[in-house]
């Protein structure tokens, strides 16, 4: 058979010499590589204490956006759910009644909005599909857990703090404090 690369070596089946049979030489060669790595730059970081900066296009957990007046931008149009390749997003819409104009931006809003983080593949297609600038992928990881129960994120988990009433929380979430 023709060799795939010119680096292929045939197996050497000669009997070992005395020096090779006590293995010391090979152990020394291996340790030399190990010691050389002590002086090299570490490629890893100590994760929880140290953190790497995120790339500007990092796609982490979702947030549901509000406008400047603190009203929810989502109108439950369903485009994120239809764009989602993992079918992770579900929602239920409701009509805004008089008196709720300060809560919701448009006459229709998402009364329930859920993302199943177990299904989500963080592709960001929901963000791309959204016509109302309502959903964004943030720079946060999905936390690990032992059970499946905590992974369905509802509106309380996803909505950003209200910039009017919870300005401090919002600044903290943005990392400005």
């Amino acid at each position: 058979m023709q060799a795939l690369t010119n680096r292929a070596k045939s197996v050497d089946r000669k009997p070992m010499t005395f020096l090779e049979s006590i293995y010391l030489w090979n152990i020394f060669k291996g340790m030399l590589i190990t010691f050389r790595h002590i002086f090299k730059k570490q490629p890893t970081i100590h994760y929880p204490e140290q953190k790497r900066p995120f790339s500007p296009v990092f796609r982490g957990l979702h947030v549901l956006n509000r406008d400047e007046e603190g009203r929810e931008r989502c109108t439950a149009c369903g485009l994120c759910a239809v764009a989602c390749p993992a079918e992770a997003i579900t929602m239920e819409a409701a009509e805004r009644v008089p008196g709720e104009e300060n809560l919701y931006r448009e006459e229709k809003y998402a009364a329930r909005y859920e993302i199943n983080m177990l299904r989500c593949i963080f592709c960001g297609l929901c963000e791309e599909a959204c016509p109302k600038d309502a959903i964004y992928l943030s720079e946060t990881f999905a936390p690990a857990n032992f059970t499946r129960t905590g992974f369905i994120y509802g509106k309380t988990d996803l909505l950003i703090p209200n910039p009017k009433t919870e300005a401090a929380d919002l600044a903290k979430a943005k990392g400005e404090l």
Binding site: T75, A76, C77, G78, L79, A81, V82, E87, T90, M91, E92, A93, A94, E95, V97, E100, E106, E107, K108, A111, R112, E114, P131, K132, R148, T149, I152, G154
Partner: protein, 369 residues
């Protein structure tokens, strides 16, 4: 009828023979496919409709065999009858494509473009038209014309801002119901579909105006904001309706076992199909608005949806559901740990039946325990 002469007409280099008196649009629909010009106001089941929206404009490059001069201007194909030897250009004519883009721009001048809210989105002819023929962006720099939304009776919602004044609903009410109570008031830019002094529309067949409306101007209040069209699954069903004029053959828009909406069956041109008794399949208000229980209906099977339609998304055809393997593997024992989705999810709570509400859901419906 048989001695009626057949006219040979060529549309986009496809020749077809049609009886005299057929319109170009009908002849093109006989050929089918992309050759058929889009129509926003013309409705073959309504007498007198057509000629208003100008989306069906075509170029007649040869008038007839006897008089082969081309027609000087683009003509509305829904109102122009064919002549023998006529040659028509629709998709092959750049003039037509350009004119259609202009028509779409005009139709969208005052359109609010609120498709994310609109219940018609996904089955809206204006959406299709602007997607196919429209230009990106608008040159309109003024305030859009606005109206307040109006309830036409307790089951029909009128969004006058979305209306393109096709008059289909007026013809429907005229020809289907005993007395027409709504029409077009005012003129020009102020023209609007209205009932006189907000009078209720209570006729038995008035719900059909929702089906004929090409845009989201007239929508079903019992379906309002309940679900998006493409998340519901269309199913053909029928019932024995007590109303003699109602065919009882409908399309149910279901999700699971819930019937979210009932509409008449539509053909590939978006018009109401003929029922099995040979008449147009108009349905009565009782079938449309009040029978939201799956037990009221005899289900015939899923509706065939064009695979290019957004409605067909997520509707997997010919799927065989795999058997539960767990108990087979574990010698009949059921799994000990099963997560009930309702214990972790707030969506689709079993105690909240949104489909049975005859109005849009409000925050109070979700906040009840």
């Amino acid at each position: 009828m048989s001695e009626q002469p057949l006219f040979k007409v060529t549309i986009d280099n496809i020749t077809i023979e049609v009886p005299a008196g057929t319109t170009i649009l009908q002849a093109a629909r006989k050929i089918g496919g992309e050759v058929a010009p889009p129509a926003m106001c013309y409705y073959s089941k309504l007498q007198g409709s057509g000629g208003k929206c100008r989306t069906c404009l075509v170029e007649v490059s040869k008038g007839s065999e006897k008089d082969p001069r081309p027609m000087p201007k683009l003509v509305a194909s829904c109102r122009t009858t064919v002549m023998d030897g006529m040659e028509v250009k629709n998709i092959t004519s750049p003039k037509v494509q350009d004119a259609r883009a202009g028509v779409v721009e005009f139709l969208l001048l005052n359109h609010p473009l609120d498709c994310p809210i609109c219940d018609q989105a996904g089955e809206c002819h204006l959406q299709d038209l602007s997607y196919e023929h429209g230009k990106e962006g608008t040159r309109f720099e003024f305030q859009k014309r606005t109206f307040h939304k109006v309830d036409l009776g307790d089951k029909i919602q009128l969004h006058m801002t979305r209306c393109i004044l096709c008059y289909r609903c007026v013809f429907t009410a005229d020809q289907l119901t005993k007395e027409r109570e709504h029409g077009v008031l005012d003129r020009g830019d102020h023209a609007q579909i209205a009932t006189f002094i907000q009078k209720n529309l209570q006729n038995d067949f008035i719900g059909n105006v929702i089906d004929v409306c090409p845009v989201g101007a007239l929508t079903d209040k019992t379906f309002r904001f309940k679900n998006r069209v493409w998340f519901t699954k269309p199913v053909d069903a029928h019932r024995n309706c007590s109303n003699p004029d109602c065919c009882g053959e409908v399309q149910l828009w279901m999700r699971g076992d819930e019937v979210f909406r009932v509409t008449a069956r539509k053909d590939e041109w978006g018009e109401i199909k003929e029922a099995s008794n040979g008449k147009t399949g108009w349905i009565c208000n009782e079938c449309r608005f009040e029978k939201k229980d799956v037990k009221d209906w005899v289900i015939e099977g899923p509706t065939k949806v064009n695979r290019h339609s957004v409605i067909s998304q997520g509707h997997y055809v010919g799927v065989t559901k795999p058997n539960e393997t767990f108990s087979a593997v574990m010698k009949g024992r059921d799994p000990k740990l099963l997560m009930d989705i309702h214990s972790v999810s707030e969506v689709n709570k079993p105690n909240i039946e949104l489909s049975l509400l005859d109005r849009p859901a409000h925050s109070t419906d979700f906040n009840q325990s």
